[in-house]
C-alpha cells in the first residue's frame, strides 16, 4: 500500500518583515530567518523583536517560523547562546536550525522544548547519520545538496526524522573563515599600489580560468567568505516526485535574489505544488521561471541528476 504522506511544506527564506508578510501571502508555509550573529548566510538580519513580530504574522496565518542558528561557532559565540535559545523557545519559534552540536547541547540544557532541525552544510549525507541525530531528539534533517535524487529518496524511506531538500536557489560550495576578497584587495594594494574600486553594492563573481562561462558568486560576511554555485537549482518540474516520495519540506533559498523575484517564484512553486499534490503537474512552470530568471543565474538541477566520482 502506498504510504500516505502529508503535503510537503513550502519553506522560503525571508530577509525582513516586509518579505515575511509578502511571502506568507505568496503561499509560503514556513519561513526561515536569521540574525544576531548565529545564522549562516541568512538573507537578512532579524533582531529578537523582529523575530517575535514575524512569529505573530506567521502564526496568525497558520504558517511557521524557523530561526537559523547554523553558523560554525567559535568559543566566543557560546556566550549568550543559552539566553538566545531560551528566548526563542519562549516566543514559541517553530524550530531552530543548527549545524554545530554545541547548539544541540545548549538547547537540551536551556530550551528542551525547542524543536531542532539539522543543517550541517555538506555533511548530512546518509540514513545512519540522520538517525544518529534523530535519537538525540532532532526533528528534521536538511540534506546535503551533493546528493542525487535517488539518494535522497532512499534516505527518506528509511530515516526516523523529517527530511528537507533544497528545490530552488543557490547552494554554497565553499565556506572559509578567511576574508579572501579583502585579502586579495590588500594584496593588490601592497603589491602594486592598486586601490581596487568597485561599488559597495557590486556583486562579485569568480570565474575559473578553464571555465569562463561559469560565474560563481562570492561574498564576505562576519563568518568569512562564501562561494555560491554558478547556477540556481530549479526543481519545479519534479515536484510530483518529491510529493510521492513524502519529502517533508521543500526549500526555496532567496539569498542572491530580489524580493520581487522571490515573491514571484514562491507564487509559482505554490501553484505547482498544489497541482502536484491534487492532480498532476502541468508542464510549463519552468518556462515561467525562465522569464523572470536573471541572466547571470542560469537554472540547473545541482547534483540531483549528476554523477560524482572519487
Amino acid at each position: 500500500m502506498m504510504k500516505e504522506y502529508k503535503k510537503p511544506e513550502l519553506l522560503v527564506t525571508a530577509k525582513n518583515l516586509t518579505e515575511v508578510d509578502q511571502l506568507l501571502s505568496a503561499g509560503a508555509d514556513a519561513l526561515e530567518l536569521g540574525g544576531n550573529g548565529y545564522g549562516l548566510r541568512s538573507s537578512g538580519e532579524f533582531s529578537l523583536e523582529m523575530i517575535k513580530e514575524a512569529l505573530d504574522l506567521a502564526h496568525s496565518r497558520q504558517a511557521k517560523i524557523y530561526v537559523a542558528v547554523n553558523a560554525i561557532l567559535h568559543n566566543e559565540a557560546l556566550t549568550g547562546l543559552a539566553e538566545y535559545l531560551s528566548k526563542l523557545a519562549e516566543y514559541r519559534v517553530d524550530a531552530v536550525i543548527y549545524g554545530d552540536p554545541a547548539v544541540l547541547v545548549t538547547a537540551q540544557q536551556s530550551a528542551p522544548d525547542l524543536p531542532l532541525h539539522l543543517s550541517s552544510e555538506t555533511v548530512s549525507t546518509n540514513v545512519q547519520t540522520l538517525n544518529y541525530w534523530a535519537e538525540k531528539g532532532v526533528k528534521r534533517g536538511y540534506l546535503s545538496r551533493e546528493l542525487s535524487l535517488e539518494e535522497v529518496f532512499f534516505i527518506k524511506q528509511r530515516a526516523n526524522i523529517e527530511v528537507q531538500l533544497l528545490i530552488h536557489g543557490a547552494t554554497c560550495i565553499f565556506h572559509s573563515k578567511r576574508e579572501l576578497i579583502s585579502n586579495y584587495r590588500e594584496f593588490l594594494w601592497e603589491n602594486s599600489k592598486l586601490d581596487v574600486q568597485y561599488p559597495e553594492q557590486a556583486k562579485l563573481y569568480l570565474l575559473e580560468s578553464q571555465r569562463p562561462t561559469e560565474k560563481y558568486p562570492i561574498f564576505e560576511d562576519r563568518h568569512g567568505s562564501h562561494i555560491m554555485s554558478s547556477q540556481d537549482i530549479c526543481m519545479i518540474d519534479h515536484l510530483k516526485e518529491f510529493v510521492d516520495a513524502g519529502i517533508d519540506s521543500l526549500k526555496i533559498d532567496g539569498l542572491l535574489h530580489t524580493t520581487e523575484y522571490l515573491i514571484q517564484v514562491t507564487q509559482m512553486y505554490r501553484r505547482a505544488l498544489d497541482q502536484a499534490v491534487n492532480t498532476s503537474l502541468t508542464d510549463g512552470f519552468i518556462e515561467e521561471i525562465r522569464k523572470i530568471q536573471p541572466e547571470n543565474r542560469p537554472l540547473g538541477t545541482g547534483f540531483y541528476f549528476k554523477e560524482q566520482i572519487y
Binding site: 552540536p101 547541547v105 546518509n126
Partner: protein, 413 residues
C-alpha cells in the same frame, strides 16, 4: 626535566615504507589510510596485510598507528563498513579517525575496542562541541585549523577530551568538510577523497554593478578587478616549529603533521626537525632557544611559503599564495643509507636520485647532519664509477663522518 606534558608527535604515512621512516625519525604515532572509507583516495593506502606489518613495526618502536576512516559517506559507501571496522580492531590499530556520525556510531556498536578520534573534517571549533564528542565516547578531537591558541586553552579548560592540532603542512582554505569546489568544477567529491585542490587554481574576480554587459566579460578591463594578477585562494603551508613551547604549555596532546601524499624525504625531514625541537624544549624549557637550523631543515623538504595559520591572529593576505614566491633552493632525496663500515668509512647507499662524483650532498638522520662532496663511488662489485645512475642501484660511497642505516642523503636540485 620539565613538568610540561610530553606531546605526541603524529606523522602522516602514505605507505608502509613512509610509516617506517616516520617512526625511525622520531614520530610517536602515525596515521594512515586503508583502502576504504578514507579521504586521499590517491595516497598509497594500506592493505590489511600492510597494516599488520605497520602496526607490528610501530609497536615494536613504541609508536601508535591510527587509521583514517574520515569520509562523509553516502549510503552506498557504507557497504562493508562493519567488516572493515572489525578487521581494523583485530589488526590492532590504535584508533580510527572518523568524521561522520554513521562511522562513529557503527564503530561504537560493533568494534568497541577501537578508540575513536574525531577528524578535522567535522570542523570542531568550540569547547561545547569538543565536550559533546567526549560524552559520545570519542577519546580525542582533532580541532579545526581555524581555532586559535587562545581558543585551544579555553577548550582545554572546559573538557578533558584529548586535543590534537595540525602544526605543519598544507592547509585547506575552507573549513574542512565545507568545500565542494571540486564537486562543482570537476564532479570529484571532495568529501569522499576526490579533492582536486581547486582552491589553488587561478580565478578572475569580477565586479558587476548591475549596469555592465556580461557579454563583454572576456575583453573588458573595466569589469575584471585586476587583469594582471589572477585571484587565487591557495594557502601557505602551516609551520609552527617556532611556537612549540606555547603549544606544549597550552596542553595540546598531539601535534599533527599533514602529508600522506608527501614523500619519504619530506616526512623524515619534517619529523626529524620537530622531534629535535620538542626534545630540546622538554629537556630544558627555561634554557630553550629556537635553533634556526630546524627551519633550514624544513625548507630542504618543503617548498611552499609558510604561515602560522589561525593560531594567533585572523589570517590576512600574508597567509595566502598569490604569485610565484621568491626562488627557493630545492633539494632532492638522492640516496638511502643501508649500511656503514666504520673501518673503511664506506657507506652502502641505495640510489633514489642521480648523483655523481664532485657533487655536494647532505647526509641527515636522527643523529646525523653533515655536508660533503662525493669523491668516490663504487658499484656493488667494487668497480669505481663516476655516477649512480639507476633507481635503487646499490653503491658504495666514502663518507667524511659516520652514518647510520636509514640515514638519508640529499642533493640540491
Amino acid at each position: 626535566m620539565t613538568t610540561s606534558k610530553r606531546p605526541e608527535l603524529l606523522a602522516p604515512a602514505g605507505n608502509l615504507e613512509k610509516l617506517e621512516f616516520a617512526v625511525r625519525y622520531g614520530a610517536d604515532a602515525v596515521y594512515i589510510g586503508g583502502q576504504q572509507f578514507g579521504l586521499r583516495a590517491k595516497a598509497g593506502n594500506f592493505s590489511f596485510a600492510e597494516m599488520e606489518k605497520g602496526v607490528a613495526f610501530a609497536h615494536k618502536h613504541g609508536a601508535l598507528v591510527y587509521v583514517a576512516t574520515n569520509i562523509i559517506p553516502h549510503d552506498a559507501d557504507l557497504e562493508g563498513l562493519e567488516e572493515y571496522l572489525t578487521t581494523l580492531e583485530s589488526v590492532g590499530v590504535d584508533a580510527i579517525i572518523a568524521a561522520d556520525p554513521s562511522i562513529i556510531h557503527t564503530a561504537k556498536s560493533i568494534a568497541p575496542r577501537l578508540e575513536i578520534h574525531l577528524s578535522t573534517q567535522s570542523s570542531t571549533t568550540n569547547w561545547q562541541t569538543a565536550k559533546f564528542w567526549r560524552d559520545e565516547g570519542v577519546k580525542r578531537v582533532v580541532l579545526a585549523r581555524e581555532v586559535s591558541l587562545k581558543e585551544i586553552k579555553e577548550i582545554k579548560q572546559h573538557t578533558a577530551v584529548e586535543i590534537e592540532t595540525f602544526i605543519h603542512g598544507a592547509m585547506c582554505n575552507s573549513y574542512s568538510g565545507r568545500c565542494v569546489l571540486s564537486n562543482h568544477l570537476t564532479s570529484r567529491d571532495a568529501n569522499r577523497g576526490g579533492c582536486a585542490q581547486s582552491c589553488r587554481w587561478q580565478y578572475d574576480l569580477f565586479a558587476e554593478d548591475g549596469e555592465l554587459d556580461w557579454s563583454r566579460i572576456a575583453d573588458s578591463e573595466n569589469v575584471r578587478v585586476n587583469p594582471d594578477i589572477p585571484y587565487t585562494m591557495g594557502s601557505k603551508d602551516l609551520c609552527m616549529i617556532e611556537a612549540l613551547p606555547e603549544l606544549i604549555e597550552a596542553g595540546v596532546d598531539s601535534f599533527k603533521i599533514e602529508g600522506r601524499m608527501k614523500s619519504i624525504h619530506y616526512v623524515a625531514t619534517v619529523v626529524n626537525a620537530y622531534r629535535q625541537a620538542i626534545d630540546a624544549y622538554l629537556a630544558d624549557p627555561k634554557g630553550y632557544r629556537f635553533d634556526p637550523r630546524w627551519l633550514e631543515e624544513i625548507s630542504r623538504a618543503s617548498h611552499r611559503p609558510l604561515t602560522l595559520g589561525f593560531y594567533y591572529n585572523p589570517t590576512t593576505y600574508n597567509d595566502q599564495i598569490y604569485q610565484e614566491g621568491p626562488k627557493v633552493r630545492k633539494f632532492d632525496f638522492a640516496g638511502l643509507i643501508l649500511d656503514y663500515d666504520q673501518i673503511t668509512k664506506i657507506a652502502t647507499i641505495e640510489q633514489r636520485n642521480h648523483f655523481m662524483i664532485g657533487q655536494e650532498v647532505e647526509f641527515f638522520g636522527p643523529k646525523t647532519r653533515f655536508v660533503q662532496r662525493i669523491d668516490r663511488i663504487e658499484d656493488e662489485s667494487g668497480t669505481e664509477i663516476d655516477a649512480a645512475r639507476h633507481p635503487q642501484q646499490i653503491v658504495k660511497v666514502r663518507v667524511d663522518h659516520p652514518v647510520n642505516p636509514f640515514d638519508m642523503m640529499r642533493k640540491e636540485n
